[in-house]
């Protein structure tokens, strides 16, 4: 009942707000893509949408999803919804969908045959609730990458490592040359990302699935995971001197050769491109830390809050279908450094690293992203733990593991 009221209230405010709109429908799209590579990619989406005769009103909110999401949720629940909004697909928008605040796109999906070309299928599953499709996946982001600066290793006089162990072994040489071995930004999600990547690489996808998917607390407290925590402790020592906040500042340390490497998702590639660096020559990428070549298939998706203005609703449909069109998919993902959600597009222009990603994807060596497995509450608690772990040397790996297991036991 409460949500009926909500809908009624925002219906009123939308009618109010739409009174002054021009003939081409303006659609406000909120997202948190504000780094160089990201902004270039969004421009591709906007260009494609404007070509349909509508107008993309850009609602970028800077400072990562952690800052943007509360604002987006506030506006949707407050009855002042935007035309479309980015979320990481998975469980972030689950309750908004359940409350009936999001538009159901099942019909359009059937008409255009989304199920036929969206690959892997898990992407659309992340958008599906009770058999209905509520979001449009636009890219696949994999997290399991180690980006290495060829220059840094040359400066330190060691070979560019081919896997995690070699990287750890090269750390003292880097330190001696005044280079920070591993750059990690201070934002909480980055530390969790590093941990998860180490987990998948060293303990394998089954362990990851059991811990994050099935919330197996016994396994989380066990010896297998103790190994992962020991490796995280090494990563912590290697990153001790990286005093940066944002992920792309850490990436820029790798670009400049001030840091040896960074564990980051494939979106880092957009930054290498903006800086004019070439994969293989200036930087090296190791999927799965060079140990377990497996990537997760999370990504970004757009949700479309319900609108009462039929013009806006039509514009939403136009946006949804243009986002999935082959041309947009290629243009957008090349700029963003991510993989397209269509299995049937040609990515000749892709660089070496993206091709590696596509190969792994084609082999089916994929795992779901943590956002798809765990609620935001659980993810936040784990973020809290790892940001503390990476900053506080007094927190021993053993204690951290104990707390980790407790969070897993209570998570949903």
């Amino acid at each position: 009942m409460r949500y009926r009221l909500t809908t009624a209230a925002f219906a009123a405010s939308v009618v109010f707000g739409a009174a002054g709109s021009a003939s081409a429908t303006d659609l406000e799209v909120t997202h948190w893509w504000t780094s160089g590579g990201e902004a270039a990619a969004v421009a591709e989406l906007a260009k494609a949408f404007d070509a349909t005769g509508n107008k993309w009103v850009d609602g970028a909110i800077a400072g990562s999803g952690d800052i943007a999401r509360p604002i987006m949720i506030g506006r949707i629940t407050g009855g002042d919804p935007m035309g479309a909004t980015q979320f990481n697909h998975g469980r972030q928008a689950e309750e908004l969908v359940q409350a009936g605040l999001m538009r159901d796109f099942t019909e359009l999906a059937q008409k255009e045959g989304w199920t036929k070309f969206i690959h892997p299928k898990s992407l659309l599953d992340g958008c599906t609730l009770d058999g209905k499709i509520y979001c449009v996946p636009v890219n696949i982001h994999s997290q399991q990458w180690l980006w290495l600066s060829n220059k840094a290793f040359a400066d330190a006089g060691v070979a560019v490592p081919k896997n995690w162990d070699e990287f750890v072994a090269a750390a003292p040489a880097l330190e001696k040359a005044g280079i920070v071995p591993l750059a990690i930004g201070q934002q909480p999600w980055q530390t969790t990302l590093a941990f998860q990547v180490i987990l998948v690489a060293l303990a394998g996808p089954e362990t990851f699935q059991k811990v994050f998917g099935d919330k197996d607390a016994t396994l989380a407290a066990g010896a297998e995971m103790a190994k992962v925590f020991a490796a995280a402790d090494q990563a912590r020592q290697m990153s001790a001197r990286s005093n940066v906040q944002e992920w792309n500042q850490a990436t820029s340390m790798v670009i400049n050769g001030k840091a040896g490497g960074q564990i980051m998702g494939d979106w880092a590639q957009g930054e290498f491109q903006v800086a004019g660096q070439v994969a293989g020559k200036d930087y090296t990428c190791l999927p799965g830390l060079g140990v377990n070549e497996i990537i997760s298939t999370g990504g970004d998706a757009f949700y479309f809050p319900k609108q009462t203005d039929p013009e806006k609703a039509k514009a939403q449909e136009a946006l949804a279908s243009v986002m999935l069109s082959p041309a947009t998919q290629v243009a957008f993902n090349l700029k963003k450094g991510s993989l397209p959600v269509r299995g049937d597009v040609d990515l000749n222009a892709a660089n070496d690293c993206m091709k590696k990603g596509l190969e792994i994807l084609a082999k089916g060596n994929i795992i779901p992203a943590p956002d798809q497995l765990m609620s935001a509450d659980g993810v936040t608690q784990i973020n809290d733990l790892f940001v503390e772990f990476f900053a506080n040397k007094e927190l021993s790996p053993q204690d951290a593991q104990k707390r980790f297991a407790e969070i897993i036991a209570a998570a949903d």
């Binding site: 909500t6 405010s13 800077a62």
Partner: protein
């Protein structure tokens, strides 16, 4: 005893010349100390100057940084004056800095902030001054209870009230509109403003109010004809506090507006946090200064009035 007095003479000479109450609010008027370089003077001016450096340091650093080019920032230290003065960062911050696809810097936000600030300041001060007047001069049973609740409300972090306010605004259909935002500023400005107005009106001579009552003047007549004309100092304080507070607000601005109507602070945050490539500290500092310019100018112009007004609103309880 006499000896003691003599030794303490400089301090006491000053103390004895303390201004009388009537002249109190316009500053000290006593004779200037005769000996310019007494130990006491060195101590006073030395301390004040030292503290002034601490207060000026950030402003200096911001200004200097905003006038440097990026290469110079990476090399030099933050306190050295710019070798080559450039206004490029200021121009970029004002008109071309990017957030996502919007590359028009802070310029858009400036007018939005004006449109938000003017009605919010007007409405919040009108309501708070009438509240204060009713509380000071027309006490009714229960008034103090509501006032206490209001003062306790001043301690509630805004974040805590965000959700209930979203619901209230949604139910009355004001969410997302300018008036919704104005209402929010009015509500959260009320506790401190009401406190100041109530104290101020209570400090005005009671006889005036009584005489007007005898003449048969009512609630509104007294407020408009007698109280308002006498209240310039406290209105100045209230206006300064509100303009600053509302202009500087980030939280409400970001939650209750859209990209078209983002106030300047939200755009500042976007510019500072939307790092495209390298962090451009000079542009960030210029943007920071531009955003703070309006309240800063108001303070520099009306600082004296502010102090006088605050004296009037705070001294009497």
């Amino acid at each position: 005893m006499a000896e003691q007095l003599l030794r303490a003479a400089p301090e006491l000479a000053v103390a004895s010349a303390m201004p009388a109450r009537a002249r109190a609010l316009s500053g000290p008027h006593g004779p200037r100390p005769r000996r310019r370089f007494s130990r006491r003077n060195v101590f006073i001016y030395g301390t004040l100057a030292l503290v002034a450096v601490y207060y000026l340091l950030p402003l200096y650093v911001m200004v200097v940084t905003s006038l440097k080019g990026m290469p110079e920032i990476r090399l030099g230290n933050i306190f050295s004056p710019p070798v080559e003065i450039t206004f490029e960062p200021w121009i970029k911050a004002w008109s071309t800095a990017c957030t996502g696809l919007n590359c028009d810097g802070l310029s858009r936000g400036f007018w939005n902030s004006v449109m938000i600030t003017v009605p919010s300041v007007f409405l919040s001060i009108s309501i708070a001054s009438i509240n204060g007047y009713a509380l000071a001069n027309w006490r009714f049973k229960g008034a103090e209870v509501f006032f206490t609740v209001l003062v306790v409300g001043a301690f509630i972090p805004y974040q805590v009230m965000l959700y209930p306010v979203v619901i209230v605004l949604r139910e009355i259909g004001l969410y997302g509109s300018l008036w919704g935002l104005v209402l929010v500023h009015t509500i959260f400005g009320m506790p401190i403003l009401t406190l100041l107005f109530r104290n101020y009106f209570a400090s005005l001579p009671e006889e005036l109010f009584k005489a007007a009552r005898v003449d048969g003047a009512g609630f509104w007549t007294i407020y408009l004809r007698i109280m308002l004309p006498m209240s310039l100092p406290i209105f100045v304080v209230a206006i300064i506090l509100q303009v600053t507070g509302i202009w500087n607000d980030f939280l409400f601005g970001v939650v209750y507006t859209k990209p078209d109507t983002y106030p300047m602070t939200v755009q500042l945050n976007n510019i500072v946090n939307a790092v495209q490539g390298v962090k451009e500290y000079n542009v960030n500092m210029a943007a920071t200064l531009l955003t703070g310019l309006v309240p800063l100018v108001i303070y520099f112009i009306s600082g004296k009035l502010f102090v006088r007004g605050i004296a009037a609103g705070a001294v009497k309880g």
